[in-house]
Structures are given as C-alpha cells and as structure tokens.
C-alpha cells in the first residue's frame, strides 16, 4: 500500500509546466516507473501466456510420441503331480488299495518386456490437436490482455502528463487522482500486483 501511495504522490506532485523544455524532460519524470515492455512481461507471467509456454506444449505433444508404452509381465507357474496305481487287494473296509506310481514337481517362471511405439503420433495425434487448439486460445488470450494492458498503461501515462502539466481546479485534480488510482488498480489486476510492487521498488531506490 505504501509504495502505491508513494507512486500516486509522485505522479500527483504539482509541477509548473514551464520548467520542462522538451518531451524528454517531461517523460523523464516517469523514469522511475516500469516501462510498457516490463508491464507486458508482468502480464505474460501472471496470465501464463508467455510464448514459451506454447513452445513447450507443442514440443511435448510431439516428443511424447517418442516414449514407448512399456509392458512388463512376470509369470510364475508351480505344479505338483502324483500318479497312483490301484492294485487287487482291498482294505478291511473293502476299499481298493492304492500305491504311488509316479510323482512330478514342475515350476515355471516367465518374464516379458514389451515396448510399443505409435510412431504415427509423431505426425498427428489427438493430443497434438488438443495442444494446438489450446495454444491458439493462449495466443488469443495473450493478444487480448496485452491490448488492454497497453491501452490502460498509456491512458494512465497521458493522465499523469495531464496532471503534471495541467492547471485544473481542485475538482478536476480530485477527479484525475481517482482516475489514476483506478487505472493503477486495473494494471495491478492484470499483473497480479506486480505493477504497484515495481513502482514501489523503483521509487525506493
């Protein structure tokens, strides 16, 4: 809040218009504020619409197809077998008597590793179509917010120049002051508060 008030105070500081000799003199009054390039970068960072994000998505949508689909299978089979031979004698209960003829113990282990590449997805895949669609939306969003922020930034700067060089009455000064706060708040909304933070940081240097 304090940097915000400092910035406003700086912008609203009454200055006699006659002390400026050139355009550079006037604009130098705002050297302590972030430039439009800085503000645009803040917006891209806040809205996550930097072109590098699009690059990463598009690259990932292709590179993902180089990774195979792995399948690992382990198979264990254990068998135990006995064969009985029945003979003519019987038990006292009259049951036939048996004796082991053959027995077998059998254990089997199997490992299978399978890798599958869908190389056609290097060329076109549903994932890539979705990424391209999302990338297009990101570009649209980026254009929209940068247009709006650029307009706000220069509306604010023009107002600052008016306040610096104008000689309006108190009512007009109050109106301008409120408008300046409104524009600053709008820029903060787009930059996640970075704009005011940068104003404070550069003012305190």
């Amino acid at each position: 809040m304090i940097p915000f008030l400092v910035a406003l105070t700086l912008a609203a500081e009454p200055v006699h218009a006659g002390e400026f000799r050139s355009v550079d003199d006037v604009l130098a009054r705002f050297d302590g504020e972030p430039g439009i390039g800085d503000v645009q970068r803040m917006v891209l960072e806040t809205t996550k619409t930097d072109p590098s994000y699009v690059d990463k998505w598009l690259a990932a949508s292709v590179n993902a197809a180089w990774l195979p689909e792995f399948t690992f299978t382990w198979d264990h089979d254990s068998r135990y077998n006995r064969d009985y031979d029945y003979i003519a004698s019987t038990t006292p209960d009259g049951e036939p008597t048996s004796q082991i003829d053959q027995s077998a113990v059998d254990t089997a282990d199997g490992l299978q590793l399978r890798a599958k590449w869908n190389l056609d997805k290097l060329v076109m895949s549903s994932e890539r179509i979705r990424v391209i669609s999302e990338a297009q939306d990101v570009v649209k969003l980026r254009d929209k917010v940068l247009e709006e922020v650029t307009r706000l930034y220069f509306d604010r700067r023009r107002l600052q120049v008016e306040m610096l060089m104008g000689n309006g009455d108190l009512k007009a000064q109050l109106k301008n002051e409120l408008r300046l706060q409104e524009l600053t708040a709008q820029l903060d909304a787009y930059t996640g508060g970075r704009f005011t933070a940068a104003l404070g940081a550069q003012t305190s240097r």
């Binding site: 050139s22 604009l27 699009v54 190389l119 056609d120 060329v123």
Partner: protein, 600 residues
C-alpha cells in the same frame, strides 16, 4: 461568383510554386521549408484533405467533433442544409446517415417554395452567363457553368427546406465538450438531442439551437428565438425572459467571467447564463461571433459585420486588431499556442501566429473558400465547405521528408503476427499429414524370457529325473493401418479394440480418435479465422503508426504538451505492434534506423 473566382485564385496560388510571396513574405503553398520564413504556421506544412461530400442532400452547414476519449478516434457529426445528420467514426473516411432531413410542415405552399428556389437558381446561373472576362462578353467555361449549376441547385434545395419550415435557421450540430455521447442539433424543425454519440435522436424543442455553452451544471443555448437554458442535459429547455428580447443568437462563448451572446442587435453578456445585459460599447452593432482568448484571462475577439475587434479587459473596452484586411470574417478559432489563430473568412481560412498582426492564407489544396463551419480535432481544424468536409493533413511530399523514420514493412509485420507459435496453420496441414501418418507404422518390440524347472519320480522303477530349461525370445513388429485387432496378438477381440479409442475435447466439441481429422479441420478453421483478425489488427496499428510517423514532420511546431502526447501515441502504437509481433516491430525499427558505420 466572386467566391468562386477567389477560390480558384487561391487554389492556383496554392499549387503554384513560383507564386510570389505575399505581403508577409509567406508563399502560399510553398515547400515545407518555407515554414522557417513564416514561423510555425500550419499553412507552411499542412494541406487540406477532402473528407466527404454530401451534395446529394445539400452542402454541410454544421460540423462537430466529439470530445476525445483515450486513444479512440473521435466521432464527427455533420449536418447539411436539408437537415440530414451524418456521422463518421473514422475521421471522415466513411459517413453514415444518422437522421434523415425534415419533413415538410403542414400547410406549406409547395408551388411558392418551388418558384422561390427556381428564381434563386436562375439568378445564380445568370450571374455566370453575364460575367464579362477582361471586359469582353465571352462564353463561360463549361466546367465553371456545371459547378455553378450544381451550387445553384443546392441553394435552391436549401431554400425549399427553410421555407417549408417557416424559418431560415442554419442547421447546426454540437457536441458536449467533455461527454462524447451528448450531442445536440438545431435545424429548421427545432432542436434534437442524442445521448449515444449521434446514433439516435429525439426531438426536444421547437427553437433551433445555434450554439451551446456549458456553464456549471447548465447548458445555455443560443437559438433563433433568444437564449434558453437546460438543467437536464438538453431534455427540456427554458426560455430566458430578459433583455435580449428574443434576438436571434448567432454565437455563444464563455470568456473570462462572462458568457457572451452575439446577436444582430449587439453583444450581450451574462455571469450566470440567466440574466443578460447588453455590452454598452457594442450596443446596436451586428455581432457575428465571439471567441475567448485562452491565453489571456478576460481576453476575447469579437467579430462584427465590418471588423475584427478585441477586448483585453472582460469587455470594458474594445480595439481594432485587424492590421491585414481580412474580408468578411465569420469566425476565429484559437489553436494551441498563444497568438495562434485561424480566421474563417469569405476568402477561406487564414492563419496567424502572432495574435493577428500578420495573416497567411491556409488554403493549400482547398478549392472552396466558402467555409460554413469549423471544428477542432486533436487541435487541428476541420472545416465544412460547400464542396465537402476538409481536414488538415501532412501532404505527401512532407510525409516523404527524411525526418519520417523508415518503418518495418507492413507485410513483414503481418506475416510475423500470423505465424506466431500457436497460429501456424502448417501444423494442421491435413492432406500431407494424413499421408505421412498412414505411412508411419506402429512399432512393437517384445522381449520374453522363460525358465522351467521340475523333477519327475517313477516309484515303480525307482527312477528319478530332473530338468531346468531356460529360453528367451525377441520379436520386433511393424504395423500399418488398423493394428488393434490383428497385428498385436494381445488384443485379438474386436470388442476390446473398440475400448482402445479415447474421447478428447477440442474447444466445445468432443471427438473420439476416429474423428481426429474432423477435429483437426475445425481447429485449422479457427486458426485461419484468427489469422485474418490478426492481419486486420496489425494493419490498422501499422497504419496508425505510419500516420504518426508522417505527422512527426510538423509535431515540432506544436506546443510541448501536444508533443508529449504525440510521443505517447507513438510509444503506444509501437507497444501494440510489439505485442502482436512478439517484439519484432521494435527490433526491425532499431535495425532500420541504426546509424550506418560511416556516420560519425
């Protein structure tokens, strides 16, 4: 006829580089460097550019420019002699009808109206036919005759409209100085109001306004029937019953602590817009116009039927300012900068930069001296003449001066904007990719290892045996086409293969893998649409930057505040182009304007 000849003379002088300098040493229509001879005049650096004609309805008599709102282009409103209101949102490049002309009042004598109009037209035509050339009666130039016939028809139409409504009101249009939505129009059938910047209109009063001033919360209007005021933004008007006595008001102006009303009976003034008193020094004089001097508290110019006079003491005394003999002065417009004025006269616009000591014609490329109204757009005058609307612009030869920086090519910027990451339609070039995808196999690699161990015992033979078998295999498989049901070997059931399809969402639509091509086609269409939009936006931004670049040649003539605003406009245009080209505009601009190695 006199006006026409003067117009032709002015045009000829303006276009003749060999024309001798006038009394002030300024050559009308001189090359741009001539501004050094006459000081910072617009006349030396700018020329009139045609911005629209309404001859099908009659000449324009009223013109207004809406208050600036940010960087938006202000709305222009024009009204013609027929009462038609025209609206432009692109500084006169295109116009649309905002309201049609007046309907005939009931009981009008149509036959008398037509006879009046016809008589006027015949008079004008006769004046051309009978005009001697060098004292010898000769056949007039056919092109001149055609022009005069056209004008005569316009005047006749205007007379019909005025007579039909029983008044001779000159249609006027007015914008609120700070609210670009509020506009008023005065024409023969009364006053109309718009609250949406001139799109729609409502009739509000029977008296036609001629001029309006904002005084606190009041709107004070001059009408054909005295002064009126409104407290509700022009919805209702209250007649002021005072000493003006209902005199037709030609002009209203706030200057110093007074509001002045110019009438045919003299100059009236009021401190509050309600109580009016005549200015004693000008009582009985026909006053045409009053203009405040923004650089002198209490100063104002007053135009009477015969002279241009001035007061420096809030109307207590007046003195004649006109050293040069300006003829038929109708209006004076102060521009930015003390002493910088434009006078609208019967000979066209004239300009002074020393408060009226020296005047130079501001007539370059202006073929019509009969100016009916003037408004300011971004500090520069826009005028309505019989032949249409004109605005000042830097002529081509000035635009090509070396001062204008070379800009990156438009097509390069458009190409970059259209091919930014995410908008490259080549990513979805379906025919090529379908072929490539069909030619690309699915590859399976299988590695398998098996070990089998066991013991067998034969109890009858008392024999044992044991075994331990190990085996491995490797299989590589490539499959084209639908591999799910046949080639894999692990998914053999077509029903299982169906479950291999996945749904995916693109935009607001859901597709399965089988419809990927349709999804890609829709996405590609969306990209194409947006690429067109990007081209339009970048072109508009580049053209604005180009205009600002051309204006750079005359910006040094403007006051500091305007130069700062121009610099901000340039910076904003650059920032917009950078946003759409990911910074390429500024990079190219720096490269194009980098000093060459030979430059010391």
């Amino acid at each position: 006829m006199l006006a026409l000849l003067l117009a032709l003379t002015l045009a000829a002088r303006a276009d003749d580089p060999d024309a001798p300098p006038d009394e002030d040493g300024a050559a009308p229509g001189a090359a741009p460097d001539a501004r050094d001879q006459v000081g910072a005049t617009l006349a030396a650096t700018m020329a009139w550019e045609h911005r629209g004609t309404f001859r099908q309805r009659g000449p324009v008599t009223g013109l207004a420019v809406a208050a600036a709102r940010g960087s938006a282009v202000p709305t222009w409103l024009a009204i013609d002699t027929g009462g038609w209101i025209w609206r432009s949102e692109d500084r006169g490049s295109t116009w649309m009808v905002a309201m049609r002309g007046e309907e005939a009042a009931e009981g009008a004598d149509e036959e008398r109206l037509l006879m009046n109009a016809e008589a006027l037209r015949d008079d004008e035509l006769r004046s051309v036919e009978e005009a001697p050339v060098d004292g010898v009666q000769a056949a007039p130039d056919p092109s001149v005759v055609q022009d005069v016939v056209s004008r005569a028809n316009d005047d006749a139409a205007a007379v019909i409209v005025a007579d039909r409504n029983g008044a001779e009101a000159t249609p006027r249009v007015w914008f609120h100085p700070t609210d670009p939505e509020l506009a008023l129009v005065g024409r023969a059938d009364g006053t109309w109001r718009s609250l949406d910047g001139g799109f729609s209109w409502e009739w509000v009063d029977s008296a036609a306004i001629t001029d309006v001033e904002v005084v606190g919360d009041l709107l004070v209007a001059g009408t054909q029937d005295g002064v009126r005021w409104s407290t509700d933004e022009g919805r209702t008007w209250i007649d002021v019953d005072d000493s003006t006595g209902g005199a037709p008001v030609r002009d209203l102006e706030v200057a110093g602590r007074w509001i002045y009303a110019a009438t045919s009976r003299g100059l009236y003034r009021s401190a509050d817009g309600l109580r009016w008193a005549i200015v004693p020094a000008l009582a009985g004089l026909s006053v045409v116009d009053v203009t405040a001097d923004p650089s002198w508290q209490g100063g104002a110019w007053v135009i009477t039927a015969t002279s241009l006079i001035r007061t420096d003491d809030d109307g207590a005394t007046f003195y004649d300012t006109e050293r040069a003999s300006l003829k038929d002065v109708r209006e004076v417009i102060p521009l930015r900068g003390a002493g910088h004025l434009i006078a609208i006269t019967g000979d066209g616009p004239w300009e002074t930069i020393d408060g009226g000591l020296r005047w130079v014609p501001l007539a370059r490329l202006l073929t019509e001296p009969d100016v009916r109204d003037v408004a300011l757009d971004a500090g520069l005058p826009v005028i309505a003449t019989r032949s249409g609307i004109y605005a000042l612009a830097v002529p081509v030869e000035l635009a090509e001066r070396p001062r204008a920086l070379p800009l990156p090519q438009l097509y390069t910027m458009v190409d970059i904007a259209q091919n930014r990451r995410g908008l490259d339609s080549d990513m979805l070039s379906l025919s090529r990719r379908r072929l490539l995808a069909a030619a690309t196999p699915r590859v399976d690699l299988d590695w398998q290892w098996d070990r089998r161990r066991g013991r067998d015992a034969d109890h009858a033979a008392l024999a044992n045996s044991a075994y331990d078998d190990t085996a491995w295999s490797f299989l590589a498989r490539a499959c084209w086409g639908n591999c799910a049901a046949s080639a894999s070997g692990y998914v053999s059931d077509p029903a299982d293969a169906a479950f291999d399809d996945t749904l995916f969402v693109v935009g607001e639509e859901v597709y399965d893998d089988g419809n990927a091509i349709a999804a890609a086609a829709n996405v590609a269409q969306g990209i194409r649409d947006y690429r067109r939009n990007a081209a339009a936006v970048v072109t508009e931004a580049w053209m604005r930057r180009q205009r600002l670049n051309q204006e750079q040649a005359v910006v040094d003539l403007l006051p500091l505040r305007d130069r700062v605003m121009h610099a901000l406009d340039v910076a904003e245009a650059d920032a917009r182009l950078d946003a759409w080209t990911e910074g390429a505009f500024t990079r190219d601009l720096a490269r194009l304007n980098a000093p060459s190695p030979e430059t010391p």
